[in-house]
Symmetry: C2
Subunit: 518 residues, 2 copies
Amino acid sequence: MDSEQSRSRRPGRRRGATSASEPAPGAASASYRHLHNPFEPLRVLSEDEVAQIHEAALSILENDGMRVLLPEARGKYAAAGAAVDESTEIVRLDRSLIEAALKTAPASIAMSAPNPERNVVIGGRNVAVVPVSGPPNASDLDRGRRPGTLRDLHELLKLAQSFDVIHMLGPSIEPQDVPPPFRHLESTLAQLTLSDKVPFVYSRGRPQVEDCFAMIRRAHGLSQEAFQGAVYTYTNINTNSPRQLDIPMAQGILDFAAAGQLLIITPFTLAGAMAPITVVGALALAHAEALAGITLAQLVRPGAPVVYGGFTSNVDMKSGSPAFGTPEYVKASFGTGQLARHIGLPWRSSNATASNIADGQAVYESQMSLWGALLGGCNLLVHGAGWLEGGLCASYEKFIIDVEMLQMFAEIFKPLITNAEEIGLDAIAQVPPGGHFFSTAHTMQRYRSAFYTPLVSDWRNYGQWQEDGALTVTQRAHRVWRATLERFAPPLKDAAVVEALTAFVERRKAEGGAAPVS
Amino acid sequence: MDSEQSRSRRPGRRRGATSASEPAPGAASASYRHLHNPFEPLRVLSEDEVAQIHEAALSILENDGMRVLLPEARGKYAAAGAAVDESTEIVRLDRSLIEAALKTAPASIAMSAPNPERNVVIGGRNVAVVPVSGPPNASDLDRGRRPGTLRDLHELLKLAQSFDVIHMLGPSIEPQDVPPPFRHLESTLAQLTLSDKVPFVYSRGRPQVEDCFAMIRRAHGLSQEAFQGAVYTYTNINTNSPRQLDIPMAQGILDFAAAGQLLIITPFTLAGAMAPITVVGALALAHAEALAGITLAQLVRPGAPVVYGGFTSNVDMKSGSPAFGTPEYVKASFGTGQLARHIGLPWRSSNATASNIADGQAVYESQMSLWGALLGGCNLLVHGAGWLEGGLCASYEKFIIDVEMLQMFAEIFKPLITNAEEIGLDAIAQVPPGGHFFSTAHTMQRYRSAFYTPLVSDWRNYGQWQEDGALTVTQRAHRVWRATLERFAPPLKDAAVVEALTAFVERRKAEGGAAPVS
């Protein structure tokens, strides 16, 4: 076993030949733009058990129902034949309604980005990644932890634009220096000017959504009708578990479905708190809530693009603290993937951690989440880069570390080529026992691109690493995001479009913007 | 998406109700003593491609052969019909020899520990874990990085004994304050007195191996004959890639096979350096070398217990630095698992990283290694806890962080129970929309054991975490290993046995010990 260290006659490491302190030139690789997951999804449930959980969800919707706070949404359900109790606002859904909805929901969704090279397909074996979305706080090693600002939002969007393994945008931070009625305007303007990837729109009520849709139409140069013919943006709908759909979320379903824009329906079910304490119980409740939301979308517009969102984790039963990337989280992920495939919809998962800093816990919980999502067959990974504190903070350093892990997965997804040429029996015959392969033709032909070049990993030996300041990966990630922002150049945009969008935002701000609906 | 943070109405986190600074009482759980991996192994190769790599390996052994430095081993090969060139020391093996050897090698191996509760089965869906093995250096936050000592060896053995998710012992550190001729004596004495798990013996030449076998026989109270009838210890054999088997390693194969003790045959093939630059080329070379070692063991004693060892990674082609837990490493792991199953042998993998400290890089590379091993179907995980610097350092803090990850895997392996009782439709019906499940009978019956209790993760919110010193997971791991050592009580041992072992060591030291063979 000592052989693994001392006998292996490691090749000498040339001084200064490489350093992780500068971002690798290959960090943005076009080959990461369309990820295809080659692995058969892992299963934690038998087919019978999947059917049993699906049945349980149908019985929850039939017997217990969902409380739906928006009268317009209750009206849609009632018109389709659901039993609506207006005094309790409870909507009970017959299984035939759900089954009909599942027949019209598409299995795969093509998203159109401002730059067609950034178009994304959600479904099948495709994997699309969205950065951290929604935290009120930001943190980095220069400025510490603070309330998120518009500057943070701009910087995080620039980071999201800079790495090809991030496929769509998200509301990476809540800019608390922007008044709430203006945030959607600033956020949409920033997404449409700093990036050419698919933008996100919050469902915080119809007035905001209408503003954002108008801006996206302008960016693409589309009529209202043309806009509704393809999918240009997306939102996330969280049910208010257990069994409740609030007003802005219900409005979001109605408005996005009507416009043919993508809805992710994501119950946030913490086992032991807002959901049963068992993983299978939490999955049954989440499945019921997701089915209720998916059905509403299909009632509004049959064929409306919807993604089955899963966010089941557990709490610490001693303190009530939510936990993420736990063993229960991983099993819930695999099970959620199975339920999504059972109903034939694309599945959204997350890269989550409860850690308060970008340390080893953040990494092991996040990577557990990532394997749970990716081996579970996830199609859309939200919070892909930068999430900390159970979603209460967006960390710049964590963003870079997550990108490193995502790029590693992108490389793992690339198939091995196995043929005589690649195996290289000639090279093996040429190298004498105990020799090395550095100078064989087989090596020389391949050495530039044979292996993944890391973004932030440092593989130098202890002495070299120490001489260079003994930086942790978090400190090196700090250098990488700074260098990335310094190098950033926004994608080319039509000046007239930028001017029109800016004028729109100015006008709407002058008019008072649009307050969020609650 | 803000719903995932602010709308979820997280349960309040009670102040001080939990803290990760003390080790969880459940850290040593008997349920971790026998791990069963329920997942179908992942594949990166088709069956045809596996067969093609196996064929390539057979052709390497037939045409190019292995250089075998030990005359006695060449003699064994020659007697079985191999073509041996004594001038070059090259041994060429016909495929019929290999095929015959694979017929006698057992598919599963039962290991007998000093305490029968610590017996281990290696093979099938079982997973056994060994701690970090072999580094010359140790590090922890109190004492920094330094050459390993006997005290470090004792402490690391105590840690290995303390966690049930570590199943067998390893030479966790090279005690550099002990003269080389005495190290095997001190190491074996320590393993047999501080622990009741299966001990490790280095293959550093016959004289040392004979001492260690004598001590293990004494510990178990066995005759030489009885000792050879079951498997009480194990060693690791690294071929000297490419295509070379040195003297102590060859002697180890002869001696362990003759005694019926377990051999792990592990080529250490770094793609681009001591192996072809392609993953499939490195796998073909590793497979050939493993087959040569396995065959030698079976020639010595048909049925000798052998594990197929895999350690294929890649180097940084700019600097020559070895890298671990890379995308190529993960794919090589999945492929190695497939090759092991192709020949019907248990498979050994590793938990590896090139990081110089127990930071996020150490964690993401290690966890990549762990998923590569465990989803690849690994039976024996070496370097399971504590490895840093590509094996040049054993870190106490990393040990604890790895144990946390291993325990998480042990929990992920536990099947979900899916039935009406577990789903809990009654509980779901009882809790009103927007309510919580804390006080339902379904929760109350299960809350004590529903979820994994972490060893070192801190799930408290940012304010509580900061008030408690804002410790990183590495700093918390430091507290955990210290508390574990403070609490440590060695397993009960027969005083006469301990006295006899101590007397043996004293006598052999007085006689000069046994120098390693090279």
